[in-house]
């Protein structure tokens, strides 16, 4: 060891004037490294603590929460309790997070009458109110396209139409939201399996499992998914307190969300918010497996088409005309 020490000290051959500078720089870089680790760690910890509010155990519990499909009933109940407490801290609202399972023998389907849609956008607004979407930055699950009559060139569509009244002359309207595909590209993309297809056909996201890589957003052919670029902003009066773990309970920054056919309503036999809001009655919803349902009538008797059906996504959202 001794000769090595002398060798190394020979190799470095310090000059008296340069010695302190070198040592300072060396120490500086070490300090910098430490600052990086400590600073980064503390910021993450701060963020994690703020997420859970003042309760440390809630933060830790949320941080190490398992995937929804792997949790036991008790674990889900605990997770729900944490979410409810957190909503109280974040928004001051008493929400109720349900966990209704899919109704057996039910697969949801949705149809939209493009002859009737006048581009009013009330469906978009109702969805925002029902599903606790962030107001700023604004998240809207439904995007209404204004197209020129005579074609369906989406590249020529106008998403920001703002005429005096609708329908505007020479235009027709195509609202697009998550089509709940039977062969979804998004669920294949997710590296952690945070999004999957439920037995009632709805594609859901576990907001506590999503890592925010946004690969699913790149994969979706209908531009149906939204990302929380910042903490969602909602006021307590605006919160819909009737929520479901997999659909409209308050979400977090950095996770992906999308239309879930209003699971909090439809799994209790009620209609989605967009359908109720439509003044023209253009929307039809129901159970595809029930031969007497409205949706089955439309699909079997009307001229029906699907968007981008050439991509093999097999969506459960149809468009029809009278």
């Amino acid at each position: 060891m001794a000769d090595e020490k002398s060798q190394t000290s020979q190799a470095s051959a310090p000059v008296k004037s340069g010695f302190s500078r070198r040592k300072l720089l060396r120490r500086g870089s070490l300090a910098g490294l430490a600052a990086m680790i400590f600073g980064g760690g503390s910021v993450v910890a701060k963020q994690a603590t703020e997420e859970g509010g003042s309760s440390f155990s809630d933060t830790v519990g949320t941080l190490f929460q398992d995937h929804y499909q792997k949790m036991s009933k008790e674990e889900i109940a605990e997770a729900i309790a944490r979410i409810e407490r957190q909503a109280k801290r974040d928004y001051g609202a008493d929400i109720k997070v349900g966990n209704e399972p899919p109704i057996p023998g039910v697969v949801f389907g949705y149809a939209l009458n493009v002859s009737k849609c006048k581009g009013v956008r009330k469906c978009v607004e109702a969805c925002m109110a029902e599903n606790n979407q962030s107001r700023d930055p604004q998240i809207q699950y439904i995007r209404v396209l204004e197209l020129d009559q005579g074609g369906m060139e989406l590249g020529l569509s106008n998403h920001y139409f703002d005429s005096e009244t609708v329908p505007a002359k020479g235009k027709w309207y195509l609202p697009v939201q998550c089509h709940q595909c039977e062969n979804p590209p998004c669920t294949n993309a997710c590296p952690v399996g945070a999004t999957w297809k439920e037995p009632d056909g709805v594609i859901v996201v576990d907001y506590n499992w999503c890592i925010g890589c946004r690969f699913c957003m790149a994969a979706c052919p209908y531009w149906a998914r939204r990302f929380n670029w910042a903490d969602p902003k909602l006021s307590a009066e605006e919160i819909n307190t009737d929520t479901h773990y997999l659909s409209n309970r308050p979400r977090y920054r950095g996770v992906v969300e999308k239309c879930t056919y209003c699971l909090q309503r439809t799994r209790k036999g009620r209609l989605p918010a967009c359908l109720e809001a439509c003044p023209t009655g253009a929307r039809v919803f129901g159970n595809l497996l029930d031969p007497n349902s409205d949706i089955r009538y439309v699909l079997e008797n009307k001229t029906v088409f699907r968007l981008k059906s050439d991509l093999g996504t097999d969506p459960k959202f149809w468009y029809f005309s009278d």
Binding site: K118, G119, V120, R121, K122, V124, E125, A126, M128, A129, E130, P137, Q138, Q140, E146, D148, G150, G151, E153, L156, N158, H159, Y160, F161, D162, S163, T165, V166, P167, W229, A230, E238, N240, D242, T266, G269, R270, L271, A273, L275, E276, A277, C278, P279, T280, G281, V284, F285, G286, N287, P291, N292, S293, D294, I295, Y297, V298, E300, N301, D322
Partner: protein, 261 residues
């Protein structure tokens, strides 16, 4: 035969005429008797049977939906009663048999709110819908009376295709949180439904809105709507100012033909 005057008359022509008359009557009776008795034996088909026969033919050709069902076999439903919300009901408060004015005119005094824009001049109040003897009900095509709460049956007399859709759920709305289509809010601030029991159902009992909930029977066409707000881009970013579609509408092929492009 010997007549009183002592002259003798020949009886053969009289006898021949009587014989021919008897034979004629017998033949007529022979040929037409059975038919006559048949006709007299049965009643002629009444109105209900003729209508039923016509409806049967309609059902077999165009009245069935693709699954083979007819309107009568549509899933059961209830309709939200309309009468309670009618402003001038009961109508015979003003209308009685004697004050029937069947002239075509502008109703300035009587029903100033009614702008009649239905039918393109093909009919007037009492021709197609309203029932002069009893103005508290409507009249159907066959003179049958239809209450205001079932006024959808009247609409279906002419708009049968649409009625078929309505019966099976492809048209119209169910009763729910926003059952007055004219009173649906514009922005999310008013859209929150706090009373969850008000929300309509896709399962269970079907309660539909009558046609008149959306279509004013005197001016049924859907009027233009006011828009809800334009979507925002992510806060902190700006949408480019190029929106060519609003400024220059996409030219159709027939506009482009002959033009240099």
């Amino acid at each position: 035969m010997k007549l009183i005057s002592g002259k003798t008359r020949n009886n053969n022509p009289v006898r021949l005429a009587v014989l021919l008359a008897l034979v004629g009557t017998a033949s007529v009776g022979w040929f037409f008797g059975p038919l006559l008795s048949e006709a007299l034996a049965k009643n002629p088909p009444g109105q209900e049977e003729v209508i039923k026969g016509l409806k049967a033919r309609n059902n077999s050709v165009r009245g069935r939906i693709n699954s083979g069902k007819t309107i009568e076999e549509a899933p059961g439903f209830k309709v939200k009663p309309r009468q309670p919300s009618m402003e001038f009901y009961p109508c015979d408060d003003c209308h009685d048999q004697d004050s029937m004015d069947k002239r075509v005119r502008i109703l300035e005094e009587e029903h100033p709110k009614i702008k009649f824009e239905h039918g393109g001049g093909r009919f007037w109040c009492y021709d197609a819908c309203h029932n002069p003897p009893d103005m508290n009900v409507l009249q159907g095509k066959w003179g049958d009376t239809i209450g205001f709460n079932e006024s959808y049956k009247l609409c279906g007399d002419c708009h049968f295709e649409r009625q078929k859709d309505w019966y099976f759920g492809g048209h119209g709305k169910r009763v729910g949180a926003f059952s007055d289509p004219k009173a649906i809010p514009l922005t999310y601030k008013e859209f929150l439904v706090k009373d969850r029991e008000k929300i309509g159902t896709w399962q269970g009992e079907r309660v539909l809105l009558n046609c008149t909930a959306c279509h004013d029977p005197h001016s049924p066409s859907i009027k233009p709507y006011k828009l809800s707000p334009v979507p925002l881009v992510r806060s902190g970013l700006e949408k480019g100012s190029h929106e060519p579609h609003a400024a220059q509408p996409h030219l159709q092929i027939w506009d482009r033909l002959g033009k240099k492009h």
